[in-house]
Structures are given as structure tokens and as C-alpha cells.
């Protein structure tokens, strides 16, 4: 069972109180973008064995979206953080680096 702390209400919520909302930090490409950009925005997703960044929603709770950094292989959670950001906060990146010095995920490392 996955347990994540919602950064908005502070509750340590187990998975059934949350809803998975796909990959984090997607940049939207809409009208005016190239076909390749639009295709990658719509369909191309990371599917890593290891460090991953996801969006979650505290659906049976405060209702807010937030981000989580975790490992898909060990289920270790490195931390959760605000949805009002374009990249993971430094302290979470540091925590990942401490365990996996060579990690990378899209443009982050």
C-alpha cells in the first residue's frame, strides 16, 4: 500500500484516498505547435524502472492536485510537493541523489 503525504492538508493518505493523475511536469503544446510536439504532449510518457515523478490528487480529501517523487521498483517515496511548480524542489532532488547518484528523468537529474 502506497502512502503519500498531501502537501496541502498534511494528511498521510493511503492510496485509496488518492487518485493517480499521470505523469508530472508535462508541458502543454496546443494550437500553433508542431505535429511532433503535439503528439509527444498527448501520448509520449516516461515509463521508468526507478525514479519517477507523478501527479496525484487528494480526491477523497482536500481535493488538491500535488506532485510525488518515488521509485517504481522499490515503492520508496522521496517526497511530495506543491503542484504550483515547474520542477521538483532541490531538497527532493538531493534526497534522490543520495540514494541514486546517477538518476535522471526527462530533463531533471
Amino acid at each position: 500500500m502506497l502512502t503519500l503525504q498531501c502537501p496541502y492538508c498534511g494528511v498521510w493518505a493511503e492510496e485509496t484516498e488518492l487518485h493517480a493523475e499521470g505523469e508530472a511536469h508535462l508541458k502543454r503544446f496546443g494550437p500553433g505547435s508542431s505535429d511532433d510536439e503535439f503528439e509527444s504532449y498527448l501520448f509520449m510518457r516516461e515509463n521508468p524502472k526507478g525514479v519517477h515523478f507523478e501527479r496525484w490528487r487528494h480526491s477523497n480529501g482536500c481535493g488538491k492536485f500535488f506532485h510525488a517523487a518515488r521509485s517504481t521498483t522499490t515503492l520508496e517515496v522521496f517526497g511530495t510537493y506543491s503542484a504550483q511548480t515547474l520542477e521538483p524542489p532541490q531538497d527532493i532532488k538531493d534526497k534522490i541523489s543520495a540514494k541514486y547518484p546517477n538518476w535522471s528523468w526527462r530533463d531533471f537529474s
Binding site: 496541502y8 485509496t16 484516498e17 480526491s59 477523497n60 480529501g61 481535493g63 488538491k64
Partner: protein
């Protein structure tokens, strides 16, 4: 005006704890900047209570105020005074980016009372309800079995559960099942 009735007209079931639909309750959703002085003044004049801290419930002479999210409060008052309270809040927040909505008739309220009430609720929600973990002045938004709900304590072994009116029968049924004699867990008292 037509006569307002609650979802289950005071349905009641007694097992090792007692489940009662409490009848009509005034409930107002207020959204806005919870840290602003306008919000503090509005909530104070409507209920007599202060703006609650994260996940807390504050109590005033005219009602109580529950923290629902970083930008949302639930104001709980007598059903008979809800329209006056809405007017007070709306006037007080007139100049702010805020929302005041009367949700009384969109909700149902249940009371679970008696020794086993903590156990009965703990069977239905993914929440640590032990006395050391769940504070007496806390509100918890979560799920009851398969539907969203929220609850708070009104006494040492007494809880109030709110849910959407459309699922009132479902929530009553699962609470009734949970308090049925023979289903005691004796884990939390």
C-alpha cells in the same frame, strides 16, 4: 415555501453504537484567502469563531467552522439561520475574491454515538482513529467505504459524519452494518 426535509428523515439504528441521521443542518461553503483579515472578520461575525488552523474545527457561539482545504472552509450553523448567515458572510466578503455557497440541502449528517463509535468508523475509513492520533478538534475529509465524507468529534465517543445527500442511504447502510452487534472489533475504545 415548501417544507424542507432531511435525506432520511431522522433514520436511526442501534447496534453496539447508535447511528442517527441528525436532520437538517445549515452548511455553507466559503472559499477565499483564509489568511486575510476580511475572512477572519466575516467568519467571526457569522459564527463567533476564528478561522481554524489546518484540519481543525473552531467553535463559536453561533456555529462552527471547519478547515476543508487551504482555500476552503465549511461553516456549520442551525438550519433555520443559514440564510441569515449566508447574507452576513456575503456582505462581509463583498470586496474580496471569495465564494459563499449554501450547501445545506446538498448534504446529509449522521451521528455515531456510544462506546464503539470509534471502532465502527475506523472500519469504514482509512484513518487512524485512535485517541492519540485523532484530535478532538480535528476534521478529517476522507471516504466512508466507497464515497467521500468528512467527520469530526462532538464528544469523547461521539462523531458526526457529513456526506453528499445523494449517497445518504448508502452511508447510513454501511454505518448500520458497521455498528451491527457481533461486529465489534474492541481495538479502539
Amino acid at each position: 415555501m415548501s417544507k424542507a426535509v432531511s435525506a432520511l428523515s431522522g433514520a436511526k439504528f442501534a447496534g453496539f453504537a447508535t447511528v442517527t441521521e441528525t436532520g437538517l443542518r445549515g452548511m455553507i461553503t466559503v472559499r477565499g484567502d483564509l489568511a486575510s483579515k476580511e475572512m477572519a472578520a466575516a467568519v467571526k461575525s457569522a459564527t463567533g469563531a476564528g478561522v481554524p488552523d489546518q484540519r481543525k474545527v473552531s467553535v463559536g457561539d453561533k456555529g462552527k467552522v471547519a478547515w476543508m482545504s487551504p482555500d476552503e472552509l465549511l461553516v456549520v450553523v442551525e438550519y433555520a439561520t443559514v440564510l441569515d448567515t449566508v447574507a452576513t458572510l456575503t456582505t462581509a466578503l463583498a470586496g474580496s475574491h471569495a465564494l459563499v455557497a449554501n450547501v445545506s440541502d446538498a448534504r446529509a449528517v449522521f451521528e455515531i454515538s456510544g462506546e464503539g463509535s470509534r471502532d465502527a468508523l475506523a472500519k469504514l475509513a482509512p484513518v487512524d482513529l485512535s485517541k492519540s492520533a485523532f484530535a478532538p478538534d480535528e476534521i478529517r475529509r476522507t471516504r466512508i467505504a466507497q464515497v467521500p465524507a468528512a467527520f469530526w468529534q462532538t464528544g469523547d465517543s461521539c462523531f458526526e459524519v457529513i456526506c453528499f445527500r445523494s449517497v445518504a442511504q448508502y452511508v447510513f447502510d454501511v454505518l448500520r452494518l458497521s455498528v451491527t452487534n457481533g461486529g465489534e472489533v474492541h481495538h479502539l475504545v
